[in-house]
């Protein structure tokens, strides 16, 4: 039993406040959060400093050095650490630049779909009634459309390029944002502080951006991570099917597709880009799980 004297006697009027346990203090002690944040940090740094890090120019072709194995198979080819692809380009440099492509697409598409989805969800959640039904119909229509098929069809019509892929993914990945925002907005609107704000006469923008949005931030961050991982994988799928990022741009999906032809006797060409995709998607998903854990399912 701790000695009696050491415990201070709190005076009644000195009402103590419950200590505010900061989000960051809890986050830094959360194992998964640290692990996934580390992965994402490394990949982002690689993406930003790709020109400095890449040993060779990813587009420089050298037919003589075609399909060289990585160093652990064949020590002779020292300067190409991870070997070369079917056009003799340095595989490691292409992987490094590939990180840049995947990150830009992931961030670009997610931001765009977040914008669309959150706006629709906010309006549907706040107003309800026929506006809510109309927007819900739009959401259901979008959900009923197979993403990959539509993306492929649109890209096939307009012609594939990096920006087209970002825009198409951005236009196809907003449904989860809308659904989560709509439900979260409805829950927040049922709380008395939104009713109080309306009675006090505060303006609509104030209610939307000061009363509702800050209190639905947590579930939205979790959705953003899931959609970002989805965007990474979808870009890779599109490129793999030949309708995403076009050669010679070094997208991991494209590298996988190029490697398909020679995958039987040089399997490393399949494993490397695939594992990069997997690690990036894993990092994003893990940080999403950690954030869901830290915000206790969105209580924020």
């Amino acid at each position: 039993m701790t000695t009696a004297a050491t415990i201070p006697v709190p005076l009644p009027d000195e009402e103590q406040l419950i200590p505010r346990r900061g989000f960051w203090r809890r986050a830094l002690s959360h194992r998964t959060f640290l692990f996934s944040a580390a992965i994402l940090l490394i990949i982002t740094l690689i993406a930003i400093f790709a020109p400095m890090l890449a040993p060779h120019d990813p587009y420089l072709q050298n037919i003589a050095m075609r399909l060289k194995p990585p160093f652990w198979h064949d020590k002779t080819v020292a300067e190409h650490m991870l070997g070369t692809d079917q056009l003799g380009r340095d595989y490691l440099s292409r992987l490094i630049y590939g990180a840049r492509i995947s990150m830009t697409i992931a961030i670009g598409a997610t931001l765009m779909s977040a914008l669309i989805g959150i706006t629709l969800g906010l309006i549907a959640g706040y107003y309800g009634g026929w506006i809510d039904t109309a927007i819900s119909t739009v959401i259901t229509t979008r959900l009923s459309m197979p993403i990959i098929l539509i993306a492929l069809a649109v890209v096939a019509l307009i012609g594939p390029s990096l920006t087209v892929v970002i825009v198409v993914l951005g236009l196809l990945l907003w449904d989860q944002f809308a659904v989560v925002t709509r439900v979260a907005t409805q829950q927040v609107c049922a709380r008395d502080y939104v009713t109080a704000a309306r009675v006090i006469g505060s303006s609509l923008p104030h209610i939307l951006f000061r009363e509702i949005l800050p209190n639905i931030r947590a579930p939205l961050i979790v959705v953003a991570t899931v959609e970002m991982a989805q965007a990474v994988l979808l870009e890779a799928a599109l490129s793999f099917l030949g309708l995403g990022v076009q050669a010679p741009l070094p997208s991991w999906g494209l590298m996988l597709s190029e490697a398909k032809t020679s995958m039987f006797f040089s399997p490393w060409m399949i494993v490397l880009p695939g594992s990069c995709l997997f690690i990036l998607a894993l990092g994003i998903n893990l940080i999403g799980d950690a954030l869901r854990d830290l915000t206790a399912g969105g209580r924020g």
Binding site: T133, S136, T137, V138, T140, T141, L143, S144, M145, P146, I147, I148, L149, I150, L152, A153, A156, L157, V226, A229, L233, A236, A237, F240, L241, G242, L243, G253, L256, K260, M263, F264, P267, I270, V271, G274, L277, F278, A281, L282, I284, N285, L286, D289
Partner: protein, 297 residues
């Protein structure tokens, strides 16, 4: 609501096949001269104003005529119906596989939180979501098809041909199911009515399976319907890797040759299936959950 959605979907498909890509050029073929194209436009009446063409389009749709493929000149409906069983089987196997993994492990993770089984379920969920399913397909081909030669890696004649594709597509659908079942069971096990049942001395085993499971499984039904719908979309990638002759593969082939009528028909078909599935799930839910079935007397 469902009818409105179908209407919007048909409009989008109409736009895909008639507006975004000039059907006349498609039919005439790449090397046709401009006169031929103009002639075709005349005969097929593609020059008529859009609304009236849309009404014809709906008319054909009603009689099941989804248009004719530019390349094979065969009615698209037949092409789809030939291949539908393959995709349906793939979807069925993948869904059973996904549920076979998600249900037991999800429930176990909820019953014994923070144990190895719980960590396994979280790992499977996160890893499953992170694996690009086409890469998984390739790996399976290299490993089982080439190295070990246990399973066939392309074509769709025997059931064995469906094992690897089902695993690939199954890992795509399993994570969300796993998460939902785990979260659902945790909610239900922590609920007041389970505590009341424990207070009344109901044995733990009966408690979990009779009382808890029935409540936890309700949301899983609607999610499985949605997942089944997504899988039809996802099948395009898997079928093209494993060369399974399903509607996904057909969609991919007609994609590279921009055979628009086929693409728009497949999109229409998949959307319709999705809508029907979600309707079925809602009906099943309404039947299973008395709260939806009857009002307060």
């Amino acid at each position: 609501m469902a009818v409105v959605v179908m209407m919007i979907v048909s409009i989008i498909c109409f736009v895909l096949s008639n507006v975004a890509y000039d059907p006349a050029v498609g039919i005439a073929g790449a090397q046709a001269t401009d006169e031929d194209v103009a002639l075709i436009r005349q005969t097929y009446g593609f020059d008529r104003p859009l609304p009236s063409r849309f009404i014809d389009y709906l008319g054909n749709l009603a009689q099941g005529d989804l248009g004719v493929s530019y390349l094979s000149k065969r009615p698209v409906l037949d092409m789809i119906l030939e291949r539908l069983p393959v995709t349906a089987m793939l979807a069925f196997f993948s869904m059973t596989l996904a549920l076979a993994i998600a249900l037991p492990i999800g429930c176990a993770a909820a019953l014994w939180p923070n144990t190895i089984i719980d960590r396994l379920s979280q790992f499977l969920a996160v890893a499953g979501q992170a694996i690009p399913n086409f890469w998984a397909g390739l790996l399976l081909i290299v490993l089982f098809g080439v190295q070990l030669r246990w399973l066939p890696i392309s074509g769709s004649d025997t059931y064995a041909h469906f094992v690897l594709p089902a695993i690939t597509l199954g890992t795509y659908a399993m994570p969300p199911l796993m998460r939902l079942i785990r979260a659902g069971m945790i909610d239900v096990l922590g609920s007041d009515y389970i505590r009341t049942a424990r207070a009344m001395g109901i044995q733990p085993l009966k408690l979990t399976f009779k009382y808890a499971l029935k409540n936890a499984v309700l949301p899983v039904i609607s999610l499985s319907a949605v997942q089944l719908g997504f899988m039809l979309g996802g099948s395009i990638v898997v079928e093209s890797i494993f060369a399974l002759n399903g509607i996904g593969y057909l969609a991919w082939q007609s994609m590279s040759r921009s055979d628009m009528p086929v693409i728009q028909a497949i999109v229409l078909m998949i959307s319709m299936i999705y809508i029907v599935l979600t309707l079925l799930a809602d009906l099943l839910n309404a039947y299973m959950d008395p709260r939806l079935r009857s009002a307060r007397k």
